[in-house]
């Protein structure tokens, strides 16, 4: 055969033919397959490990074998003797193509044995970090060619690593000479290059081979700050930590923090300092957990809702407190991390994802990046429920986004027995449709309330209230048990049938638990949930209208609330539109995942920047139809929309008969309602 051998890289699937003798690393680079290398092919960093997948790959027409790769050369031999090279692993800088090959690029070269805490989210993403470690050996100074030390370093980085325009972070200028001499003209340069082609900056410099570099990815929530420490060389998250957002002491929710800034001259400054301090302390925590020096952290990615985003950047969020909700900056922000008060390596860089709109922040952008509605063939709905729900809907052709003011009811506020998800909170509820008796599960107690041992445990843990997921379930179960009508009215006639239905002024309540504290669900509680879920659903419907959709293919629930909520009950209540239940998933901390992706791959930064620019923003407050959708969504699941796919899985109470003109022709009443609002 005269053809060159075929090399296929997994998991990317990229393939190409290369002459016998081509180093596998060169083949990977030529195909755009990212394989880490710090030492630039000298066989000393061990970062470029690959494995040969042996066998017949009929689909690709390749028979791959370890006979088709070169035997251990001297560099590889030396590395294997001095370090720990797992059986089957090869250094792609040394091993050369000898025949057809299928090459596995493992997610982790495991060069340094670091503590790897299994986080909830261990997805592996392709790497192409903005920050690269580049080992070079320099020419010594030469009087005949009096190029400066830094200039010769740049020349070496250009020649060996293909950089174009290079400059140095100012703080390095006084250090370069000593580091070069300490390393005897061999150094590892930490080079920050935001775009694959483009100007690059030397941000740190180490004598000799520096075979590690870290980054942090941080999601600044209004309640919780979650921070991950990631190895930029393996892409693995090696430690995570979380803390309450200390801004809570200035205001529980977002708007009270904006008010605090408006009322207090130093308010903005105080909150900025508080959040930066908390982040610096979390950085210390993850560094200690992982046993690394925080000075080895060289890149940092942050996400957060617009108000968290602004306060972190030292920007007064007052404009976000009222229409037109003007963001100071919506595009991605990049700067030296020290300019934002972060205590990392002095040259470390900071990147914040773009915000989508005044109420749809960098966290929603990050969740979008993680879950990829913009990469999807089918229609995906991504919802992050909070006091402001952030909603993203679309597919690869078109993406729309909005926020909806759901208020704090889903978090247990405004609910008579509401509380945060903590020990003692009821989180799951079932109601027998015949007896109307409930059973429930309490956080901190591992059995249900009707199971043996519950009573004793409840003595110590307590049953203190209902958390967000509990309130969703109890209201949905009350509806399914027909205690509450589709309009949310508790049926007072049932008081005769069950002592759990009790009169409460002019309305009725449902007694969920009697103990030290009596926990009831009042008519007002149901109203609060109805208002919240109607706001969310109306927002979603506006986006569906904009897309011309009547149904969605997949739904992702982001955030902590989304992780605990049961999709079935969310749909019974009508928080979300009808969908096959198996296509409704909790997507965990998608914002944090998106931040990690942007940290380990600069292409993701460009991807989300492009995506956010083309996302169509819908301002719910400005849409005439919001009110109509809201009114219809006050009913459970909805006064106008059918839920046929939900009905297949759950026995829904029969719907109230609609007036003829409403059911037969949806146009007329809508027009009528619009007219009413116009006059109002």
């Amino acid at each position: 055969m005269s053809q060159n051998p075929l090399v296929l890289f997994m998991p990317s699937g990229r393939r190409g033919r290369f002459p016998v003798g081509t180093p596998v690393l060169d083949a990977a680079r030529e195909l755009g397959v990212y394989v880490e290398s710090v030492c630039g092919g000298r066989g000393i960093c061990g970062r470029c490990q690959v494995e040969v997948a042996e066998g017949q790959f009929a689909k690709h027409g390749i028979t791959s074998s370890n006979d088709h790769i070169s035997a251990f050369g001297p560099k590889e031999q030396r590395y294997a003797e001095k370090r720990d090279l797992k059986p089957g692993r090869r250094l792609s800088c040394s091993a050369t193509v000898q025949g057809d090959l299928v090459i596995d690029v493992p997610a982790d070269a495991q060069v340094n044995t670091q503590i790897v805490r299994k986080a909830a989210d261990t997805k592996v993403f392709p790497r192409n970090p903005a920050l690269n470690m580049c080992y070079v050996e320099l020419e010594e100074p030469d009087m005949h060619k009096p190029l400066g030390d830094l200039d010769r370093l740049f020349a070496a980085l250009r020649a060996e690593w293909g950089f174009g325009e290079l400059s140095a972070d100012p703080h390095l200028l006084p250090q370069v000479q000593a580091i070069l001499r300490q390393g005897q003209w061999a150094v590892t340069a930490a080079v920050h290059q935001p775009d694959t082609e483009g100007p690059a900056t030397l941000v740190a410099l180490y004598p000799g081979l520096k075979n590690e570099a870290y980054g942090i990815a941080c999601d600044i929530g209004s309640t919780t700050i979650a921070l991950h420490l990631v190895s930029l060389l393996s892409g693995l998250t090696i430690a995570s930590a979380g803390a309450s957002n200390p801004q809570i002491r200035f205001g529980e929710d977002l708007m009270s923090r904006v008010s605090y800034v408006m009322m207090n001259p130093d308010g903005r400054e105080g909150m900025t300092e508080a959040v930066r301090e908390a982040i610096n302390s979390l950085i210390g925590e993850v560094a200690e957990t992982a046993g690394i020096d925080r000075r080895d952290i060289l890149d940092a990615v942050f996400v957060g809702n617009p108000i968290m985003h602004h306060l972190f950047l030292g920007i007064d969020p007052t404009e976000l407190g009222g229409a037109p909700f003007a963001l100071a900056v919506s595009g991605a922000v990049a700067m030296p991390a020290r300019a934002n008060g972060l205590d990392l390596n002095e040259g470390a860089r900071l990147y914040m994802l773009p915000c989508i709109a005044g109420h749809v922040g960098a966290d929603a952008a990050a969740a979008t990046l993680a879950e990829g509605p913009h990469r999807s063939d089918d229609i995906m709905l991504l919802v992050d429920v909070g006091t402001n729900a952030e909603i993203v809907l679309g597919n690869k052709d078109h993406v729309v986004a909005a926020s909806s003011p759901t208020g704090p009811a889903f978090e247990g506020a405004e609910i008579s027995s509401g509380q945060r998800a903590a020990n003692g909170a009821i989180e799951r509820v079932r109601i027998d449709p015949v007896t109307l008796e409930p059973r429930f599960k309490v956080i901190g107690i591992d059995v249900w309330s009707d199971e043996p041992g519950f009573a004793e445990k409840a003595e110590t843990v307590g049953v203190t209230g209902i958390c967000g997921s509990g309130i969703i379930e109890v209201v949905a179960e009350m509806f399914l048990a027909r205690i509450a009508s589709e309009d949310g009215v508790i049926d007072g006639a049932l008081a005769a049938k069950s002592p759990r239905i009790i009169e409460d002024g002019r309305t009725f309540s449902y007694v969920l638990h009697e103990g030290k504290q009596t926990i009831t669900v009042t008519q007002n509680d149901i109203r609060a949930i109805q208002l919240a879920k109607a706001a969310l659903y109306a927002g979603i419907k506006l986006l569906m209208d904009r897309m011309g959709l009547t149904t969605v293919d997949r739904i992702g629930f982001a955030g902590a609330f989304g992780s605990f909520i049961d999709p079935k009950y969310a749909m019974v209540l009508g928080l979300i539109p009808d969908c096959d239940l198996e296509n409704v998933k909790a997507v965990g901390n998608a914002a944090g995942t998106g931040a990690r992706m942007a940290l380990i791959n600069r292409d993701y930064r460009r991807e989300i920047e492009r995506t956010v620019r083309r996302i169509e923003k819908v301002e719910t407050a400005l849409e005439a139809k919001f009110q109509d959708h809201f009114v219809a969504a006050m009913a459970m699941p909805n006064k106008e929309d059918e839920f046929p796919r939900l009905a297949k899985a759950v026995s829904l109470p029969p719907r109230k008969p609609r007036p003829a003109n409403d059911a037969g022709d949806g146009t007329a009443p809508r027009r009528r309602r619009g007219g009413r609002r116009g006059r109002g």
Copy 2:
């Protein structure tokens, strides 16, 4: 005629045809003629003033007339009424082409009446600053298109000013919203764009029209720091100030400062702080003189010799104290000015010209930029005499550079009666070749020593010593009067003829002045001057060798010493090679001029960066022939080189006859000398 009118811009000479009705500013821009404009053609900043040159321009085939430009439009009318528009001046953004035109672009629009101190150097250079003031009117925030305020500002800057990639200095992020609202969506953006095409940074932002912006150009000399305040909008230097370099207290000359750093742990830090403090204080001085706010200074250019360059940047200069004289950084350095401790606008930028070699600094690069040997058709020699002479030689095809260790003799050190150029110093000397009687001029006394009134004035001023130019002249005059031989030996036989020749141990001295202090020129003084001038000449000769030259066309003497030295005597002594005397010029503070050029035109930065990269560096200490040239140059003017062009202007003593083998064949003795050194 169907052809479009022809428009010619002066002084650039660029020309092109434009349709009737084209604004003159647009025509200028299309031809790449830089015309300032802050308001972007709204007729409110008045920066884009031009004048019509009337008349027949036969050379260009143009008849230009005020009838060929549009009459005052409303914008121009309004500006002329509200402001001071000089007769004949037009706003090029408003005035349109109506026929053939010759347009003068004046150096100064004189919009703000500022104190303009006539500096010694008032050369006018084409402007194209890295820092531009750009007035824009923004769209207000819109909920339907929730682009951030900063992002909309960038969009306006892109649309109206043609910028590409834009980012903001981090310190501005918290300020943008308030400034935009203060300016009611009309702001002036200070945008730093180092390259004409390329990424740009918003470094300052002002509400409404900000019609001024300043820069500083600073030459950090080892003895003196000279700083100029320049309007970036007119290009004029509006104030200058100078101060002693406070590092003098750590060491008089460069090498003693390097030693100080080597001996003292905090030495580098102390000297860096001292020079930055002095510069900040000079900035305050020029700002006060010009009546401007130092916060309106947005750009800064610095030059200095390598050791000054390093200390200013906080770099330890120890490596420059010995071979291989390794610069930490030789390329141009750009950074935020605050990163280098400068107290200017918070977003101000700093640029330092590149260094040429370990002993040939950014000051020599700046002098090169100002005097332009690299742009010259004929061969130019540029010399900056100091304790280290910096020498640049070449033409547009090839430029070479070197430094030569002349030592401090030319500054009056090592000379028995030497002193700094101050009151009481002898600066000019003539000796009667017949009587051997001298006459001289003293700094602070306006008559010569043989003129009436000298004696009285000398009573108060004193005659205290000889300064640099005086020592050059007296030694040259002693040679011309044949008191000293071409080898520099004072002829003791003349003691019999003149009481001014006195015995001094085993050698003789010449009594220049008898008074309170007797001022003599000793044999050692002459030796010191011979050593210094031989070093300089040998350096020049090496460069001439490298270029294959035996003669140069023009000589420029840079620096203070160069301004006071008489070229004739410099040539009689043999400091510089033979040249027509009218082509030997003092070029003043060429380094400062080069710094100003780089400040007002970014193209000059690229020009000198390119030039420095292609300058061939010659390390005098490594050249085998340096010693030969040095020995020959110990003679006055030179033992080997003829000075035919000098001989036409000055009656030189006849040369000593050369030994036959030396005169007839230059190769043999040179080879012999080389051999001797090889054994030594």
